[in-house]
C-alpha cells in the first residue's frame, strides 16, 4: 500500500475516524488500533514478512527486558549480543547474502579458481533496514543504561511498527517516540491541519516532481549509449531532484500522517541542496539515519576524540557502512566513499561545524561566497548520485565518460522545458521556506486565507493532473 495510492487514502481515513471517534477514550485501545492497522498496512505489502517483523519485535522486546533483569554483566552481554546478532543476521541473509556470495566468487575467480556461488532467490522484506535499526537503537540504549525497557508489548510494538514510519523511516529513537506512545493524546486542530499540509506538500514533491524527473532520469540511465554528454548532465540532474523529492516527499507524508494521530516524528530533511559544504549536507539529508550512525557507530568507535587519524578512519567507516546500508552493490559503497572523500577537507581543517545555521539567515539572497559554496556542494552531490543510481560501477564510469565526451556541448536530446521550469519554481519555494520544517509550513501566517486555499487547490490539482501509475518510492528497496 503506497502512500501515493488511493488505497492508502481510504485506509488513512478509516484509521483516523476509528482513532479519534471510537478508541479516543482509551489510550490502550488507541495503541491497539495503531498496532493492528500497522500490521495490516505491512501485510498489504507481503503478509509472509509480517511474521519476520513480529519475530524481530518480540526478540528485541524480550531481550530488552532480560538485559534489564540480568544480575551479572555477562548475562546482560549475552542477551545484548543475541539480539544484535539475530537482527543483523536477518539483515545479512535477506539483504547481503547474494552480494557476499557473488563478490567472493568474483574474488576467487581472479585467483584462477572457478566457483559457482550459491545464491538465494529471496525477496527483500520491505522496510527491513528501517525496523531493524529501530530495534537496534532500542537494545543498544538499554544495554548502555540510557533507557529502561518497556514492559508493555503493545507500546513497544507500536514504536517499531507505527505505519507512517514502518517501511522507510524516519528511523526513530525510543527516547523520542516511546514517551509519545505511552502518553494520552488529544486532538489538536492546528497540528492536524499542519499534518495535512505536510502530506500535501510531500505528495506534490513525489507525484509532480520526483515521478516526472524519474521518467527522464530513467531514459538516460537505462539507455546511456543513445544520448549526448549534455543529456547525461541533465539525466544526472533529474535524478538528483528525483531522489530528493521522492525521499523527502515520503518523509513529509510520514510526518504529516503521524501528526494527524497526535504523534511527532523526527525530522528527516532540512533543505540539503542549500548546504554550503558536505558536512552541512549530511546534517540536512536523511537526518535520522545520519544521526543514528553518529550515535551508534561513530561515537562508539571513538568519534573525533582520538586525534586526526582516528577521525579520518571513523569518518570513512560510517560513510562506507552508510553506503552499504543502502544496498548490496558496490555502487552504494563507492557513493559512500566519495562522500567520505568530500567531507575530508572539513574534517582535516576542522571546518565541519562552520555552517550550523540556515544559509542567508534574515536575507532574501545568499552572498556570492555562499552561492558558490552551495553550487560546489550541489555539484559534488550530483556527481556522487551518478554512482548511487547506476546499475553497476562500470555503468557509472561509462556514464561519467559520456558526460566528458565531445558531445557535452551538443544540444541535449531531452529538453522537458515545463519540468525544468517546475523544478526552478519548486526550488524558489524551497528557498523561501528554508527556515521552516518544510517549505510551505508558514503559509498559514504568511498568506491570506483565499490565497492559501488557491495554493492548496493548485497543489491538489497538480497532483491529480500528474498522477499516473503508482510509482514506488526509491527508499522502499532499502
Amino acid at each position: 500500500m503506497l502512500f501515493n495510492s488511493i488505497n492508502f487514502a481510504f485506509f488513512l481515513v478509516i484509521v483516523f475516524f476509528l482513532y479519534w471517534f471510537v478508541t479516543n477514550k482509551n489510550l490502550r485501545f488507541q495503541n491497539i488500533l495503531l498496532l493492528v492497522s500497522s500490521y495490516f498496512f505491512y501485510a498489504c505489502w507481503d503478509w509472509r514478512f509480517l511474521f519476520l517483523l513480529i519475530f524481530s519485535i518480540l526478540l528485541d522486546y524480550f531481550t530488552g527486558i532480560k538485559m534489564a533483569e540480568s544480575k551479572t554483566r555477562g548475562w546482560k552481554k549475552f542477551w545484548f549480543w543475541l539480539s544484535i546478532s539475530v537482527n543483523l543476521g536477518f539483515l545479512g541473509v535477506f539483504k547481503y547474502f547474494n552480494f557476499f556470495a557473488s563478490s567472493f566468487a568474483d574474488a576467487v575467480s581472479h585467483l584462477g579458481f572457478q566457483v559457482n556461488p550459491w545464491t538465494l532467490t529471496v525477496i527483500l522484506p520491505v522496510g527491513i533496514s528501517f525496523y531493524t535499526f529501530h530495534g537496534l537503537s532500542y537494545v543498544i540504549d538499554i544495554y548502555n543504561d540510557r533507557i529502561k525497557p518497556v514492559k508493555n508489548f503493545i507500546d513497544y510494538s507500536v514504536f517499531v511498527s507505527f505505519f507512517p514510519l514502518l517501511v522507510a523511516g524516519p528511523i526513530e529513537r525510543a527516547t523520542h517516540l516511546l514517551p509519545q506512545i505511552q502518553k494520552t493524546r488529544t486532538f489538536d486542530y492546528s497540528k492536524a491541519v499542519d499534518g495535512l499540509r505536510q502530506i500535501l506538500w510531500g505528495l506534490f514533491k513525489k507525484v509532480v516532481i520526483a515521478d516526472q524527473c524519474a521518467e527522464f532520469a530513467n531514459m538516460v540511465f537505462n539507455n546511456s549509449a543513445a544520448y549526448t554528454g549534455s543529456s547525461h548532465v541533465l539525466g544526472a540532474l533529474f535524478f538528483t531532484f528525483q531522489i530528493y523529492c521522492d525521499f523527502s516527499g515520503y518523509s513529509d507524508i510520514a510526518l504529516g500522517t503521524a501528526r494527524l494521530f497526535g504523534i511527532e516524528l523526527l525530522r528527516n530533511f532540512a533543505f540539503p541542496y542549500f548546504s554550503r559544504d558536505i558536512a552541512e549536507f549530511w546534517r540536512r539529508w536523511h537526518i535520522s539515519l545520519s544521526s543514528w550512525f553518529r550515535d551508534y557507530l561513530y561515537i562508539p568507535l571513538g568519534g573525533s576524540k582520538g586525534g586526526t587519524w582516528m577521525k579520518v578512519r571513523n569518518t570513512f567507516i560510517i560513510f562506507l557502512v552508510s553506503g552499504f546500508w543502502h544496498g548490496a552493490n558496490w555502487t552504494f559503497i563507492i557513493w559512500g566513499f566519495l562522500n567520505a572523500l568530500y567531507i575530508m577537507p572539513s574534517i582535516l581543517f576542522k571546518t565541519n561545524r562552520n555552517n550550523l545555521s540556515t544559509v542567508a539567515q534574515g536575507r532574501y539572497l545568499p552572498t556570492m561566497k555562499e552561492f558558490f559554496s552551495i553550487l560546489l556542494t550541489f555539484g559534488l552531490t550530483v556527481f556522487a548520485w551518478i554512482f548511487f543510481r547506476s546499475a553497476s560501477f562500470e555503468a557509472a564510469i561509462e556514464y561519467i565518460s559520456r558526460i566528458f565526451s565531445s558531445s557535452l556541448f551538443a544540444k541535449p536530446e531531452i529538453r522537458p522545458k515545463p519540468l525544468i521550469i517546475l523544478i526552478i519554481i519548486f526550488m524558489i519555494i524551497e528557498w523561501m521556506g528554508r527556515n521552516q520544517q518544510y517549505a510551505i509550513a508558514n503559509i498559514e501566517v504568511k498568506l491570506p486565507k483565499p490565497v492559501r486555499w488557491v495554493t492548496y487547490y493548485a497543489l491538489v490539482l497538480a497532483i491529480f493532473y500528474f498522477v499516473g501509475a503508482e510509482q514506488k518510492f526509491i527508499y522502499f528497496q532499502f
Binding site: N223, V460, F464, F466
Partner: protein, 305 residues
Amino acid sequence: MKKFLLLILTFSIILVLIILVGILLPTTPRASKSLLFSKIHKDSLLQNVKSTRLIFIGGSNLSFGLNSKMIRDSLGVYPINTSVHLSIGLIYMLDNTLPYIRSGDTVIVSPEYNQFFGTFGYGGTELLRTIMDIDYTQLRKLRAKQWLNIFKFIPNYALSKLDPNEYFAKVDDNDIYGADSFNEYGDAYKHWNLEKQDYPPDEPIIEPFNYSVLNELYIFKQKLEAKGAVLYITFPGTESTSFDNNKNQISKVEMELKKKGFSLLGSPERYKIPDAMTFNSSYHLIKKGVDYRTSLLISDIRKLL
C-alpha cells in the same frame, strides 16, 4: 474536531465540483484524434463485415504487431483487428466484442502477459477515456473490479479537459498513435516505415497471477461457443530480452491456459521476437517484425484449417 471536519468537507466539496466540471465538458479536440477513437471504426468493422471473419482481440501487441492483409492474402478470410491498447484491459476487450460475434466466426485472443497479473486485465486510464470520451453509456456495463481500477484516474481525466493544450496544441497528422493511424483491417500502420527506437526492456512482472481474468476468458469462450463461434488463444510477439526477464511469469500464463483447456496457437517461445525487430516497446514491432510475427501466426492458423 468539528472545525477540522468542516474544513475537510468544504475543501472536498469544492474539489469535487471542479472535477465534475471537467467530467461534464465535451471531449477535447486532441482526445478525439487519439488512437482510442479507432474503436469506432473497429466496431463498425465488427458490425458490417459479412464474409468469413477472423477476429483478433488483444492490446497493442496486435494493433502494432499484425499485418492483416498478409493473413487475408494467405488464408482468404477477412481479418478484423479489434485491438487498440493494453491498458483498456482484457475484460473490456472481451465484453466489447462479444455482442458482435456471429456463428462461424473464428476469434483469436492474443493477450499481453501483463493482462494476467495484478489488476491489469481490469483496465486503466485508457479504459476510462475510451468510455467517457466515446460512449459513456457503457459505464453501466463495467464490473465492480473495473470501476475500482479506473476510479483513481477520474480526477486526472477531468483535469486534462481543463488543459489548454487539449484545445489549442497542434496535432501531428503523422502521429502513429492517432485515430487514423489504422488501416482498413484495424492494424496500426503509420510506424511501418519508421526505424527501431531505443527503449528499456520490460522489468519482471511482480504482481501476483490473477485467476479471475483467466476465468473471465473461460466464460467468454463458453459464450462464444454458445453462439457457434470458436476461440483460440495465441501469444504476443514479445521482444526477446523482455521475454527472458519474465520467463517464469510467461510459463505460468501458458501453464494456466493449458490447464483450463484453451486451444492454443503456437507457444510463447515461438513468438519470441528478436530485439532488432521491435519498434518502441517490447510488444510493438517494426514492419519486419510485424511480417515475421504474422507469418508465424499464418502457419499456426493454417494447421487448424
